[in-house]
């Protein structure tokens, strides 16, 4: 309970400019310029685009996990729904995002509404298990879609069009579109959390019985939040398909759902920008850990060093666990603590 009191004060948009989100978005805005000078422009851009896309998905999860204490272990399903909406529609000649994205959002909302209405009747571990089960259901459905690549997935002929034009083919444009989506999702989430609706959601997280005793029906609010979260993750799925120019069942494995939870916890529950930071930390570590390991182990023999770099996942897992164990409140907790001295 004390932890809750520490970590969750309602952020109110505009009331006070907080330094962390400002720096975060400024960094994303400045990154393309730096990428131009880095000499590996394409690589840097595509890595950061992935970071932003997973930032949207992790933030979607934070909305229900951090503010509603709803541990959804099936959120990757929405990434898949968004991705497959893009892929399937494109394969039938509907290549415009103005069609694909609304379809993806409606599909995600419908899936969230149905599975949420069922899952939210359960609590705790049962909720986790049932969301996992629904996630697996969609995963197996995708693997059995033979016309759309089955297990192997399918390659997109090109990125989505926007009102008929191929702007997104340009990596810079695509980067800016993703940044725009990230910012819009962030602003919307901030607004929701501070609103009347968000206050009911946060109240339910702390004490559902008390909320009922003053006349709220928590289920409705949790379900609505679940739908909003699902749609946001579905949007991330559309972007991810475009980024990879490929969709496959691998989008929605339960491991991917687990990674999303990890990103949120790593960044710090219930701050929204924490989820973005968590996604960034997770993906960048995953990307650079082999090199970091190789460098840090300079005192070992060359053979051991390359072994270490190859088996970086042996270090990655324990490292994440250590961070979560010893840095209560995730990276945001760390930043907050250093801020207060």
């Amino acid at each position: 309970m004390t932890e809750i009191a520490e970590t969750h004060s309602a952020p109110s948009l505009g009331a006070r400019l907080e330094i962390i989100p400002v720096v975060l978005f400024a960094a994303f805005a400045a990154a393309p310029l730096l990428a131009t000078f880095s000499g590996a422009e394409g690589y840097v851009l595509s890595l950061l685009t992935r970071v932003m896309i997973f930032g949207v998905a992790a933030m979607a999860l934070d909305l229900i996990l951090g503010y509603g204490a709803l541990v959804s272990f099936g959120h990757a399903a929405f990434l898949g729904l968004g991705g497959y909406a893009v892929g399937i529609l494109a394969s039938h000649g509907f290549e415009d995002a103005l069609i694909q994205v609304p379809v993806a959002l409606v599909a995600s909302a419908a899936f969230a509404l149905v599975t949420g209405a069922i899952s939210l009747r359960t609590k705790g571990v049962y909720f986790i298990m049932i969301t996992l089960a629904f996630g697996q259901m969609v995963y197996f459905l995708a693997t059995s879609l033979a016309p759309y690549g089955g297990d192997d997935g399918m390659t997109l002929a090109s990125r989505s069009l926007i009102a008929g034009s191929g702007w997104l083919e340009n990596d810079f444009t695509f980067y800016w579109v993703c940044l725009l989506c990230l910012f819009a999702a962030y602003a919307l989430s901030r607004s929701i959390v501070a609103s009347r609706f968000g206050r009911v959601l946060r109240g339910t997280r702390e004490n559902a019985v008390r909320m009922e005793a003053i006349g709220f029906r928590p289920f409705r609010f949790q379900l609505a939040a679940y739908v909003i979260s699902g749609m946001m993750a579905g949007l991330a799925g559309c972007l991810l398909a475009n980024q990879a120019e490929f969709v496959s069942p691998a989008f929605m494995t339960w491991q991917r759902s687990g990674e999303l939870i990890f990103m949120v916890v790593l960044g710090g529950l219930g701050s929204l920008h924490g989820a973005i930071i968590g996604a960034a930390a997770f993906l960048l570590l995953e990307e650079f850990l082999p090199e970091i390991l190789h460098t840090v182990s300079f005192f070992l023999s060359e053979e051991t060093r390359s072994h270490l770099a190859e088996n970086w996942k042996m270090v990655f897992g324990p490292l994440l666990i250590l961070i979560v164990l010893f840095v209560r409140g995730g990276i945001m907790g760390l930043l907050r603590r250093s801020h207060y001295g």
Binding site: I4, G198, R199, V200, R210, G215, R217
Partner: protein, 251 residues
């Protein structure tokens, strides 16, 4: 005689073989403060749970303002004007005292499906909430996180939250439990003031408070109502004295 505000008809609740509410029939008249006393484990809290809708009853009927509410869920009963406090303090520890109360105001003031605008800054919610806090004497502590309030203050906050739902009937489960002498004086004074505006069902072990506040008292023993009467006659009732034999609380 006017129709009772709350009427219980042959209400029962049992956990397996243990009968906790045993054929309870009783009525609460509009405007009265009806106290329920009884030894520990008599089933008083269980009765409040049943009336408020937190626990289903095994049989019997609950009528509120003439309407059968036996099968309504707790939030629906709150909508009709039935509020309760909890014997074991139940608040939102991470929210300020003011926000705890403002949420109760929010619950009855239009839709909460609003996704824009900062709820914590809505004057329409905060002003009535502040009035409720001042009513119980917590005005000065409005911005303290509820989890950091003292035990007595939390009890007062419970009361303020109940008030903020604008109830017709307020069910209070031991509002004085665990409060210090001064705090309990303050709560008694608050209840005396509220009495004129509200119908109250009060569960309390503090006999001095009960006998000074109540219009009528019902005595619950092993889930049964053994007497309902004015405080004076309850005090003189031999059955009641027998039930309380050995309990020094009885005055």
């Amino acid at each position: 005689m006017a129709e009772p505000l709350l009427e219980l008809r042959n209400l029962r609740k049992n956990y397996g073989a243990l009968v906790v509410t045993d054929d309870v029939s009783l009525s609460v008249e509009p405007g009265e403060l009806h106290a329920i006393i009884g030894p520990n484990g008599a089933g008083k809290t269980t009765l409040i749970h049943q009336i408020s809708g937190m626990l289903p009853s095994n049989s019997g009927q609950i009528l509120f303002a003439g309407e059968d509410i036996t099968n309504l869920a707790m939030p629906q009963r709150v909508d009709r004007g039935l509020a309760r406090s909890f014997q074991i303090t139940s608040i939102l520890p991470g929210f300020s005292a003011l926000e705890n109360v403002a949420l109760a105001v929010q619950a009855r003031s239009g839709s909460s499906f609003r996704f824009f605008g900062t709820a914590a800054q809505e004057k329409d919610l905060n002003i009535p909430a502040m009035e409720c806090l001042s009513e119980v004497g917590l005005g000065a502590r409005a911005h303290i996180p509820a989890g950091l309030l003292s035990h007595g203050e939390k009890r007062q906050l419970e009361l303020a939250i109940g008030l903020a739902t604008a109830p017709k009937l307020l069910l209070l489960d031991e509002p004085l439990a665990g409060t210090g002498h001064d705090e309990s004086q303050r709560v008694v004074e608050t209840l005396r003031r509220l009495k004129s505006r509200l119908t109250i069902m009060l569960i309390e072990h503090d006999m001095e408070a009960v006998f000074s506040l109540a219009d009528r008292v019902s005595v619950l023993v092993y889930g049964r109502v053994i007497a309902t009467d004015t405080p004076e006659r309850i005090r003189a009732n031999p059955d009641v004295r027998a039930a309380y034999l050995g309990e020094e609380e009885m005055v």
